[in-house]
Amino acid sequence: MGPPLGLSLEQGNRGVFAARVTRWPSTYAHGKTTLGSVERISRDVWGLVARDAQVSGLDPLRAVYLDIETTGLSGGAGTKSFLVGLGHFSDGEFELWQGFLRGPEEEAAMLASCAERIAASAGVVSYFGKSFDRHRLEDKMRMHGIAAPFARLPHFDLYHACRRVYGGLWSDTRLATAEREICGVVREHDLPGSFAPAAWFDFLSGRPHLLEEVFRHNRDDVLSLVSLAARLGGLGGQAHAGEHDAPEALRRRAAECRALAEACARAKRWEESLEWAKRALELCTEAEPRREALELVSVALKACARTPERLAVLRELAHAARDERAARACLEWAADLGHGAPAEARAALELGAGIAGECSGPGIPALAARIDRRLHALSRAARSE
């Protein structure tokens, strides 16, 4: 058998196919992260950044880390997943199983084995797999009458989490960017994924020279899944050594705290949201991120009914700019003051009215009208006293 090396034949219940198995000790470092560190993640944080309660029940040591190589991106019945990488932890080691089609006729045999392996796991970790890998496999499994295991398993798609946390910092959210930025993984001589189809077609016509590189590319993808999953599960924990001062590191940590604040707010865990938002605020140096953090603080304070603290925050927000958000802050500021401080409330509302008068936008007319009504109410109250 020519390259790739190390293939062995497996007999599944739908026939024979080939696979390659590679193992690493848990202490193996992929980029700056050891694979085994995924054991120490906070499952609660996983669930929060995944925005999926099922994921918080997923044991990282019993998950499968999935990445596939296909004959095209278009999907459809004729597109084949010729290489399926499934990684999992076993006896203190990380084991990568790469199921491979030596020919299209082995598809059913290989997919049946994939389905068993996935079904035996506690859930799936992938990068963009909820939208791509899962469906490619599921379609083919259905076509071959193999029960697809995905629907009942938790699935942590790291892509969406990365986009939510870091989307504002990077120019794109491809896996290569994420692994470089967060895990310090730098690949050398990587075969771009787009070459994969041609490599397999060449193999089928007797020219297997590029295939080893496809296996390597797939291997690196799966290892990065583990590293990324570990880092995302450790968000909010201790800063990593040497990262304290660099401005990019500060920005990244601020983004992480902001993302956790948002996630906690979505889960209505307000005290925690407030803590994360305050941490984000401390780390922010630039105006706009600071303002966003303040807004999160304000929302959390409101939910926790901590009005006096919130007044200061709203005052800052009201003066932060002259736009719709600021005008809205003015209105809330006046509302929070209640009847106790009519003069300050009037000042807040007049500021808001002034800002609203300078702005345009779909929400402005209604906002201006509300400010106006409050001002009238204040005047009426003043007259009746």
Binding site: G76, A77, T79, P104, E105, D139, P197, F201, L204
Partner: protein, 804 residues
Amino acid sequence: MQPPSDASDRPSARTGGARRARSSRTVRTLVEELKSDPEFGPRFEHWHTVAARPEHSEALPEALDPRLRSLLESRGQGRLYAHQARAIELALAGHDVLVATPTASGKTLCYIAPILQRLLETQGSARTIALFPTKALSQDQSTSLNAMIAALGQDWHSFTYDGDTPPSVRRTLRDDGHIVLTNPWMLHAGILPNHAKWSELFANLRTIVIDEVHTLSGVFGSSVANVLRRLTRIAEHYGSRPQFLLSSATLREPAAHAKRLTGRVVEVVSEDGSPSGERFFGVFNPPMLDRVAGLRADALEEARRLATRICGENRQTIFFCQRRTSVEVLTRYLKESSHELGLEPDEIRGYRGGYLPLHRREIEEGLRNGTVKVVVSTNALELGIDIGRLDVAVLVGYPGSQASFWQRAGRVGRRGQPSLTVLIARSDPLDQYLTAHPDFLFRAPRESLGLDPDNLVILSEQVKCAAFELPFRDAQLERDAFGAAPHVPEILDYLASESRLLLRRDDTWHWIADAYPAQDVTLAGGGPDNVLILDVETKKAIGEIDREGSITTVHEGAIYQVQGETWKVERFDFENRRAYVRQVESDYFTEAEVDTTLQVLRLERHAERQRIGGGEDYGIWSGEVHVTTVATQYKKIRFYTRENVGTEDIHLPPEELDTQAFVLTLSQESADALELVGSERSSAWRAAGSLLRRVAPLFLRCQPQDLGLSCEVRSPHFLRPAIVLYDRVQGGVGLADVLFEAHRDVLLAALTVVEHCECRQGCPGCVGPRAECGALGKSAARRVLAHLCQGPLALERPLASHSP
């Protein structure tokens, strides 16, 4: 809840028998009034009456489920028309069935009842795919199906699946759709290539409904026949063998058409049991304005004036126009003169394909419930969209075929009540022939539909799509849906060894390429590649138009009309299929002109016959041609006066077509010997060309519109008279080669038509009417054809590498 479609055939409490009785009385009176009208009476050159036909009804079929039985009884359908009862009975017994009866004869029930019965029998697991030729029809059917399902108290779902279906809904639809209503394009490019996503549907697929199968002919129909092969092949993979339930307009040879389309022997039900009142037909000829030029008053203007006699509060009238612009112009005219008709402007509506779905639904509903009194439509309302039956149809111009004429006429005639159809003739030769020979209209249909699923080019493309979907296995090829087609093993071998798309392992052909073939394989027949028309102010779509029509309708400067309102096209983004318009008050509309040129690229085959005594007699050729269609300029035409108020250039890239062509040339010497001189030569040549185009489909099993025609008395390429017949599909589907092989048979068929036609100087049945081919066209064409058909055959000779 919308009324179920079939209910409109029967009087119901909601629509009220009284209103109908009143309206029907007026139709008969109306005919009398028109006949004696001092102005319009003489313009009706012919009246024809078809006697009323009684209803033939039968009891509900024995095999019908009691729940369906009581549902139908509660809808006043305790008895069915004979054809409905027969079709349902056959379908329930498991036969594949084609119901071929006129519009609005209650054909939908013939498939709805069996579908619902299958669902009842299987506790909701049976699935159906229903194909409709237009989006509008499928949405219409979905509404009536859901109403029936709701009345049965079941939690089943019928969905339309087309380009408008949002991705978020598609998932639900795939998993929970019991009845999926879609069109051939979506099936071809969306559903079949992704069959695994639809595995639930395919595993339980019991019924395939195809509505209006008479629209499936020619290259388009031949492609769809192959899409159906792919469909049954996939169903088989998931273990199901669905039944076909088909419907069509009245057809010549319906069984043969259904067999070619589905590959199955289909039971045909064609005796219409629905009642019909007395039907009046009037052929209206506008007054002659210029006897020398043969120019008559504008048909659209005559339609507007006739409307004052015909339209009214107690009557629903439909006007059919040939073109979208005419629909808008007439709608505008009628709205502006609404007070003369005794109507509100809102009671008069335009209707055509490019309107947005919601807008169309609203007009259809208005027609059903009687609030819309007048509708002006293109052929969009020719197909079975449910608008109930109306009272009077006015056809502004002959629609080009008997089938279309009867489909349009079928829109009028409420249950058992008299109806009127008026044909307003235009100045053009075909219409004028019909005013002189109106009996032509009332003969049995003579057009048969061409369909050839085994056309090698179409078949190869479709086998490619099929191989992407499921591997072919040699051992199972005989049982495969493509098993009956010739040359499939050779095609597979070609796709593997030459195209490198397939890989053969053992006895199986696997798809191994990074491609999605359905995307590149066209079905012809227009397709859903539409241009969206956007209002620059509101950023909202106000309509859409097919790509072919866009170059003459939404070029920059064009006036685009909707319901008589005018928009001016500010920018036409041809590449991205967007036209940006702004509403304006315009007193003119626009008409664009197109120019088609044909260029010979490469000749592949040539045969020639020598004259006795030497020299070339005639030659035939096949090869590649390049056809360029370009919109050149547009005229601004004032409403009412039709005065031309200016001409502007259109700057758009040309539509390019690279295709195959068959060419017939005649030598100068032979033309002289046949005494073809002066204008006679061109009329003979044109007459022969249009006749060849008309008879060629008999041998090609396509439709005349699949072939383009160019007749030149002196072709710049061949330097002698040439008739060029080209394939109108990009790349061609091999029609030219078949013509080359069969040219003698085609010429003979053409000669037979001319010789057997009783007309003296040409008619639409042979070389075309006299006004088109000239007084001598028929006799000259006959001489040419007789000459070409006599004597020895042309001999094929090798072509020099360069063109002649």
